[in-house]
Assembly symmetry: D2
Homo-oligomer: 134 residues x 4
């Protein structure tokens, strides 16, 4: 059990009907993805080919910001309507970033690892979206 899972499982106010493991999985992977995207943007800035990586850097920065907000919101376990909206934004940000980083995964290790972090987070968001009460 991750620490995020232990933290959310110990709250006296879980969201009724939502599996706390799914929430914890988004919380953990969103903060991990924010770290990876922040580091990837910085590594891209240090590449000699930085001028060709502008779109990648922008998507890294977007994804870090949306993942950060998502990690915080799901750690606060409330309002399915708002949870749904931020998870949808996070899913888009992660997919855009995974697509762009994935395209240079063979040339740059940081883009390969970052794309994996984005895909993990997108998967966790999608699983939680499917489980949220309508």
């Amino acid at each position: 059990m991750t620490r995020a899972h232990e933290m959310l499982a110990s709250s006296p106010a879980p969201i009724p009907g939502v599996d706390v493991g799914l929430l914890a999985s988004v919380a953990q992977s969103a903060f991990d993805c924010a770290q990876a995207c922040t580091a990837c943007a910085n590594a891209c800035l240090a590449e000699p080919s930085v001028a060709d990586l502008v779109r990648c850097i922008r998507r890294n920065l977007h994804c870090a910001d949306v993942c950060d907000a998502t990690g915080r919101l799901v750690s606060r376990q409330e309002s399915p309507e708002l949870a749904r909206a931020i998870l949808e934004a996070c899913l888009i940000a992660c997919r855009l970033c995974a697509e762009e980083c994935g395209a240079h995964a063979e040339m740059m290790t940081h883009c390969r690892i970052c794309a994996e972090a984005c895909r993990s987070c997108a998967d966790a968001c999608q699983e939680l979206l499917a489980a949220l009460p309508r």
Copy 2:
């Protein structure tokens, strides 16, 4: 013209077909709303009736986080699909917070002012949403 407007107007890469004044208006009102919501959560924590203000504090915290991410994303002017998703999340967060703060606006000045900040931000989000290219 606000500084946010000047900043966005001076970028060499505007989003084609999107009025920079609308972007700047969301950027400015989202960061202003993040400040108001952070301060309102803190003021609610200092009220003798804090036990009755838990929902208000949560919505303040959610709204501050989503506004922060929104202010950053619109300041970065890219990806209409992601912009749309984060603006929709921001609109929901601002409305939930305005509704809750608005309900105690007569008793607490900080909730009255915070509700105004949330409504301004919601209005700016909605105007930009209506103007985004589909």
Copy 3:
């Protein structure tokens, strides 16, 4: 009176001995500076000379993150020891960014305006630092 000032003045728990106008001035200028730095990093990324602007972009990103945390902490009015530490970090981040943006202020409007935002925020941090109880 700015909205940040009204918000902080309406809190039932001010920091004893600290002028609320100084706190509000840091809160306002820190969030404004976070917006300016985020937009400046993005505009730099869109410049044909992006490869020469890497240091500027990094300082913009650092400054946006530290300003964001500072704006939140001073909006929460507590712990002079922590306030002092974050204000000192914010002062350094703003000075580094103002120095770098200031160096290309004549060539790029976004860097000129961003340097102004950083200097305003640095000034506000310094004034509050001088007024904090030891």
Copy 4:
């Protein structure tokens, strides 16, 4: 090796003379601590004794914000002067939160786990501070 470590090790621009494992350890523990503190604030808000937990909630919120900024800055590997300042702020925020959460660790599981996360992050900050070039 954590993903944060792999990310930072793959950057073409490490800080000269700073062990990348120490940077990665701060990056990882700062984002983990931001998650724990966000979740702990929320769990405290749900406790029947919320009125007695106001100081704990404030320190949780402060700590989450400073950890978030710290995790981002160390993921961006630059400026030892700024790194030092934000690490010192993070150390203070983590200690204040660990102290407060630690005081109710026996009564509330979320406070016990959160205090551990804060202490881990404080330790990592202190180790990196000791290793930074002067």
